[in-house]
Amino acid sequence: MLRRYLVRRLLVAVPSLLIATAIVFTLPRLIPGDAVQLMLAETSYAKDIDELRAKLGLDRPFHVQYVEWIGRAARGDLGESLWTRRPVVQELGQRLPVTAELALYATLIALLIAVPVGVLAAARQDSLSDYVVRSLAILGLSVPGFWLATLLIVLPAIWWGWRPVTGFVEFRADPLGHVVQILLPAVILGVASAAALMRLTRGMLLEVLRQDYVRTAWAKGLAERAVVIKHGLRNAVIPVITLLGTQLPQILGGTVVIETIFGLPGVSRFLFDAINQRDYPVIQGVNLLVVSTVVLVNLAVDALYAVLDPRIRY
């Protein structure tokens, strides 16, 4: 049943992907100034502009370009960067691991903070620890990541003359240095997500803990840990997982600033530069990747429901 559901969902995802790619294909071309104009901005030779446009295939009708691109993308060919002339797939292959690692760490950190703290706050509702945790959550939601990042790299430099490593440390060159380098930006990204997840965990758990079957569990004399974790949390966690799924695009979006501040060569910074340079194949490739990731993550979230709650069947 689950397999049939997943196949059905995948088929439904195809039009979503097509619509998303059409939007992604269109929007960059609506920004004033095109790639060729930027590439030849320094020379301003009208004849060269037309020639280069023709050479890059940008002079053809919009729909022809789109159909050709989507056809090549389906075969795994995302074209070449207009600036570096390197295949987009190759460029993405270098950068994706950095962003994926950052997003993974950030998500793990968010979960590690949010779930235990949310459970604690719910289990000790209206206690001092609950107030403290809720206040911290609001703070976490309110503090912009870039501001926190700026403080975390500037203040240690002023106080102790220390700052995180400049330049990206490859894992194979220095595994520990690499993890340490990723950890600080991951914490910053994770904190904001953790705040939202924590509040939801607390709220959902409070609702579940008021259910009759929980009262029954208490009446049976079960230990608090068993009641809260086994009976409560398991039933409260589904909306949290849903939120986690929707947080992923936010984390990916948030990495643009964080990657810039920490000098990490990830996909987000690549996309940012590509937008500035109107590097259409790169913009399209990165966005296709992000859209596909979001679709797949949501699919995974749906599949996870059935694992977490045996009552859910597809």
Binding site: G33, Q37, S44, W83, R95, G161, R163, G167
Partner: protein, 548 residues
């Protein structure tokens, strides 16, 4: 670039040649003796910018040219080091061991023997010959999309007369020819095999030169590593083994990295720190990095207001003079340069050998005052008692300083009745239109910080030149511009350039804005280094060493 009298005295003995002695005089650079106390080794750390690509003939981007200044040689270069005053550009040989000028339009360069390409494919350390220079110059002049090709447009032909001799024949006398060759924006000498192998030079694998360092690694968005070229033609140089350049796009990150001692030069171009940042961190730096060295010198980057002088209302000199009088330049210095800046005549004050102080501009000096009352009077006399509407083309270049100064200019113009509506364009659109004079009314923006006056003058004032933004067609100026290009005698040429500036001060074809003053900053352990203008980071560091 000519030598000043002080330079000539300092260089007595003729060890070093300048560019503008009499024709037919042979110039030579004696082999440089090892610097006293110089040490080999160490790693220098710098902040850099991610190059859009690595083809020097396809971009004017400083990001590319700074990177290639470490790896590529030119025929000539600018002398560097503590003895060079920032803003002066003494020419010395790079690949050229000596050169002569048999006639006004002929230059002959003798190449150093034993120059070898980096040990990288496809050249694998073969010897550089005159054919490589000829190929590079022809490629520079003919390849599509080279915005710098104009620098050598005086060249009629270039030929290799033997394995180590290159002869240039010019179409007409052009006394700035050697300055153009020495400019890091002009011909980086490249190998034909590399161009043929890669199609162009955009990929980092194509970074193969004969310069003091070799590109060891390029990590997009992360940085570049250069390693000492053991086969560099000047024995013993460079002294520094590795140069690590980090792409750092966030100012807070740069500040913290500098405070923590991660960068050996100021993080802004060209090895400086912006005054706004400097004011905030200088006290902390005194404690954290007490050995830092600093030197201040004016920037050659100058913004100006250009206008369509080929039509109303800007074809009336009184209108242009009124616009200049309407601008409070000192207030702009206070507001955007933390109170430290210089006023610029048509040749920026930074080019100290060629620029003249405002008070020496003669009659035209008065138009650099702030006098809105006189501005209104002139406007009324020109038939615009209530001013007039206008548009001002602009792009931000991502600079808050530029935006601030533009807003002040707009406000000052409005105060005298000139209502300049802002026409903000995206960078690419701006460069391809307004920067090259394609606008209806006015444009405001910075100009490239050239290293000699000809680019500021001929390029911007000669009829039909690409960068003649104000569409000037003034026969008096045109005549003087051509004459200075043909005057080999430095003193006489300087007189002409002074006359040009005086004439232009009266005409106000462009309204020049003040420039900031750079704070060049470097680690005290870096010896035999001094900051200057231009993209030639590699040239300035070639004979520097580290003591730490």
């Amino acid at each position: 670039m000519p030598l000043s009298r002080r330079d000539l005295l300092a260089l007595s003995g003729g060890a070093l040649a300048a560019s503008t002695l009499r024709p037919s005089v042979a110039r030579a650079q004696t082999p440089k003796p090892p610097d006293a106390g110089a040490r080999r080794g160490g790693t220098l750390s710098l902040r850099t910018w991610d190059p859009p690509h690595f083809d020097p003939f396809q971009t004017i981007s400083y990001k590319t040219h700074i990177a290639l200044s470490f790896t590529h040689s030119r025929l000539l270069k600018h002398k560097a080091g503590p003895s060079v005053v920032p803003g002066t550009f003494v020419i010395e040989g790079d690949l050229a061991e000596s050169w002569s000028q048999p006639s006004e339009t002929t230059y002959v360069f003798k190449l150093r023997k034993g120059v070898r390409w980096h040990h990288k494919p496809p050249v694998n350390g073969r010897e550089l010959t005159a054919d490589d220079v000829v190929y590079s110059v022809n490629h520079f002049l003919t390849v599509k999309g080279n915005a710098n090709a104009y620098m050598l447009k005086s060249v009629e032909k270039v030929e290799a007369t033997d394995k180590y001799t290159v002869k240039f024949t010019l179409k007409e006398p052009f006394v700035w020819f050697l300055d153009m060759l020495a400019n890091p924006l002009a011909v980086a000498i490249v190998a034909r095999e590399v161009v043929e192998k890669y199609g162009d030079l955009k990929k980092h694998e194509a970074v193969v030169g004969t310069g003091p360092w070799m590109l060891d690694a390029y990590r997009p968005n992360v940085g570049l590593s250069f390693v000492r070229n053991p086969g560099y033609v000047l024995a013993g140089l460079p002294y520094i083994d590795r140069v690590e350049m980090t792409v750092d796009e966030d100012n807070a990150s740069r500040i913290s990295a500098f405070l923590a001692g991660k960068y050996d030069l100021g993080w802004e171009f060209p090895g400086t720190i912006n005054r706004t940042d400097w004011v905030q961190i200088k006290d902390t730096l005194k404690q954290k990095r007490p050995n830092l060295k600093t030197v201040e010198y004016p920037s050659a980057v100058m913004s100006h207001l250009s206008m369509r002088t080929d039509g109303k209302p800007f074809n009336d000199v009184r209108v242009r003079q009124a616009m200049s009088l309407a601008i409070d330049r000192k207030a702009i210095i206070e507001a955007v340069f933390e109170g430290v800046g210089v006023l610029n005549p048509p040749v920026p004050a930074a080019l100290r050998e060629w620029s003249i102080p405002i008070d020496k501009l003669g009659d035209g000096a008065r138009y650099y005052r702030y006098d809105p009352t006189e501005a209104k009077r002139l406007l009324a006399a020109a038939g615009y008692p209530n001013g007039f509407p206008a548009t001002m083309c602009f792009t931000t270049y991502g600079s808050t300083i530029l935006v601030d100064s533009m807003q002040l200019v707009q406000k000052y113009l409005k105060d005298v009745g000139i209502d300049a509506k802002l026409d903000t364009k995206e960078y690419g659109a701006y460069i391809s239109t307004c920067f090259y004079g394609k606008f209806d009314s006015m444009t405001y923006g910075p100009q490239t910080g050239f290293l000699e006056p000809d680019n500021f003058l001929f390029g911007q004032y000669y009829p039909d030149e690409l960068k003649n933004q104000s569409h000037i067609n003034d026969p008096v100026v045109a005549d003087m511009l051509v004459r200075q290009r043909r005057t080999a005698d430095v003193a006489k040429r300087r007189e002409i350039i002074v006359d040009i500036q005086r004439h232009l001060a009266r005409q106000q074809y462009y309204v020049q804005m003040p420039s900031g003053v750079y704070i060049g900053v470097w680690e005290g352990a870096l010896k035999n280094y001094a900051p200057s203008f231009g993209y030639d980071y590699g040239g300035r560091l070639m004979a520097a060493w580290l003591e730490r």
